[in-house]
Amino acid sequence: MNTILIRHKWEPYLWLLPSLLLMTVFVVFPILIVFRMSFSEISRSGVMGGFAGFKNFIDAVNDKAFGTVMKNTAVWVVSVVGLSTLFGFIVAMVLNADFHGRKIARSIVVFPWATSLVIQASVWNYIIKYEYGNLNNVLLNLGILKNAVNWRTTYQIEFAWECGVGIFVTIPFVTFCVLAGLQSIDAAYYEAATVDGAGFWKKLRHVTLPLVRPSLTVSTVLNIIYVFNSFPIVYTITKGAPANKTDTLITLLYMRAFYDQKKGAATAMSVIGFVILCIAAGLYMVISMRGEEEL
């Protein structure tokens, strides 16, 4: 009797053990190492010294590019997550409607998401490559342009392009999260709303939005994390140039760690990013869960 009880008590943990071990080795352990590095002295060639206190964090915050890059990161996350959620939602509504070729349309929407991000970023880089990119070729051949245009004259425009590419590649993810939510809504709600005389906007506001909220919460929290940590787009298109004006925190810390060989400051930036992400994702989840309880 006792052994059965003990077995029952331990069995779930036994099953969980492999995943817990994997998580410890591949997630928890590296996080702890980065935390330890962020408080250690590290030379340019990579030799790790003793405890450095908050020196790395002070270096990171005093980095000349830090202010600009934090601002860029905020613009990057808010615009990419915000606009891709808006457009993704609209696309999901369209794909949820009943029309011929719906399945084909759905697969087309998946394409950008199913392609590797580095490849997509490289392709976009070729599309907008100064005067000799594909965009110019197409527009010149169609006769829309008479002379080739440099689509990247200032770094602000280059950063806007990067945000645009970010939005484009993120839309499918939101679309499919929302689409899953939309399909789980019982048609009876809409019928009841129609009977009560609700139009499109009222149904959207009082039926659709509250019921897809859990899907939106999931997609937004995951997106905040993905987009904040997204590296290939900025790195492929501008590498943060000129003078870190188009960097986000993640590309800056990569450049500091592996290009400038300032590993101490880079690990500190990484810890700062980690904390910001935990707070942002946590806050969003608390707020949206409170909203759900109020429903």
Partner: protein
């Protein structure tokens, strides 16, 4: 049964002893080589060395020494090495452009500990001098390249530029003529201020204006008047519309492609540009080379780039084991620099040699080498022996990129000087 167990145990003992004996006799060297081009990996690890690989040939000729050789791209090599160092797994032999940081951290062995004297005396003395810190040589040169001005003969002729620019004033006139004639469809001058190689641009201009990274006493002098004047001139070329439009993101390879496609009239490039253009299929471009234009009154400053091979300490070994390891490293170097192997390596990627014994064979195989070797004689090299070199390199690129978007060159260089000397 007991007999069988005893027999098995005895067999096991013999096998394990043999294993130990083999392991004692054999030494494995961890080697990191940088990827210079498409052929590097094939030459070291594939079949690019007359049907075999460097590693195979070396191991056959040097029994008892195994090579664990890895070819790493230039983009990744620094991070790979520094990650290895952080984890105490530094390679035995490293090929890279920079050594002073590793030397400053006490990680390198002096060259005299492992390099046979005969080989050491074969290196160009001026090259060896670039790897000396505290009167000790810490690395040996593996190859070099020199930079020159390449110009498109047809574009210059069509735009009415009769003489290839030799001074900065003539360069501005030529660029203006090209701008007027082609109305922006062809750029006059290639400017690469990217994080890839922006330090090269910095050196072209400061060295051709009697400036430099260091002063005569070897102190950092990044904000000298000559340097400010030189960088202001380079930024002026961009502001006047004489250059490619995005110098902060258009790398040397973008410029070489534009040059090959006839979109760029003049570009500063290494001596292997012809093989690059041929490989990429740019066969229509009609070009020639000249010395870099110099500011009026300044000494011409040819730019050379040199890479190195160095050996790391292994503090876990006994004195005897270390002596054996040093001997193996010496054998590696001797094998690499043997003319029979080295000439093939240098000419395959279109570089210039670092040892005297290779010169004759190289000149015999390609006459243009003689001209380039002369340029190499007058070249200046980056001050990589200075322990702040890496910070200088990153710093000057940052200054250039900030200046491109409107920053004041003098203020930026003053700030960099303060940061480097604090």
């Amino acid at each position: 049964m007991k007999k069988l167990v005893a027999l098995l145990a005895a067999l096991l003992l013999v096998v394990s002893c043999a294993g130990v004996a083999m392991a004692e006799d054999e030494i494995t060297l961890d080697v990191i080589i940088c990827q210079y081009g498409n052929n590097t990996e094939n030459w070291f690890l594939g079949t690019g060395m007359n049907g075999t690989s460097f590693v195979n040939k070396f191991e056959t000729e040097n029994p008892g020494i195994k090579l664990n050789l890895e070819v790493v791209s230039w983009d990744d090599v620094r991070s790979e090495v520094s990650t290895r160092i952080t984890n105490n797994k530094q390679p035995d032999i490293l090929n890279i452009d920079w050594f002073s940081g590793y030397q400053g951290d006490g990680l390198l062995m002096p060259v005299k500990d492992y390099c046979p004297e005969e080989l050491f005396n074969d290196f160009f003395p001026s090259f060896i001098a670039e790897s000396v810190v505290d009167d000790t040589v810490w690395a040996v040169p593996d190859l070099a390249s020199a930079r020159a001005l390449y110009y498109n003969v047809d574009i210059l002729a069509e735009a009415g530029v009769e003489k290839v620019p030799e001074t900065w004033a003539e360069l501005e006139d030529a660029c203006q003529a090209i701008k007027d004639f082609y109305n922006g469809e062809v750029y006059g001058w290639g400017l690469d201020m990217t994080t890839d190689e922006g330090q090269a641009a910095f050196s072209y201009y400061v060295w051709n204006n009697d400036g430099g990274f260091l002063d005569d006493e070897g102190n950092i002098a990044i904000n000298s008047e000559k340097n400010v004047e030189a960088i202001e001139f380079a930024i002026g070329l961009y502001k006047n519309g004489y250059t490619n439009p995005n110098p902060a993101t258009q790398t040397r390879y973008d410029l070489q492609d534009m040059f090959g496609a006839g979109k760029l009239a003049m570009v500063i490039a290494p001596n292997n540009l012809p093989s690059y253009l041929a490989e990429k299929g740019y066969t229509d471009v009609h070009y020639n080379t000249a010395a870099l234009p110099t500011n009026e009154g300044a000494k011409p400053g040819a730019t050379g780039v040199m890479d190195r091979i160095m050996a790391f300490k292994d503090t876990t070994l006994s004195e005897e084991e270390n002596a054996k390891r040093n001997e193996a490293i010496g054998k590696f170097l001797t094998f690499f620099y043997t003319p029979e192997n080295y000439v093939g390596w240098v000419s395959m990627e279109g570089f210039l040699p670092a040892v005297n014994s290779a010169v004759e064979a190289l000149v015999a195989s390609d006459e243009s080498f003689a001209g380039w070797l002369k340029v190499l004689d007058s070249c200046q090299f980056y001050p990589t022996a200075n322990e702040k070199w890496d910070a200088m390199r990153v710093g000057v690129i940052n200054v250039e990129q900030n200046a491109l978007i409107g920053g004041d060159v003098k203020t930026l260089l003053d700030e960099l000087q303060a940061e480097l000397t604090k």
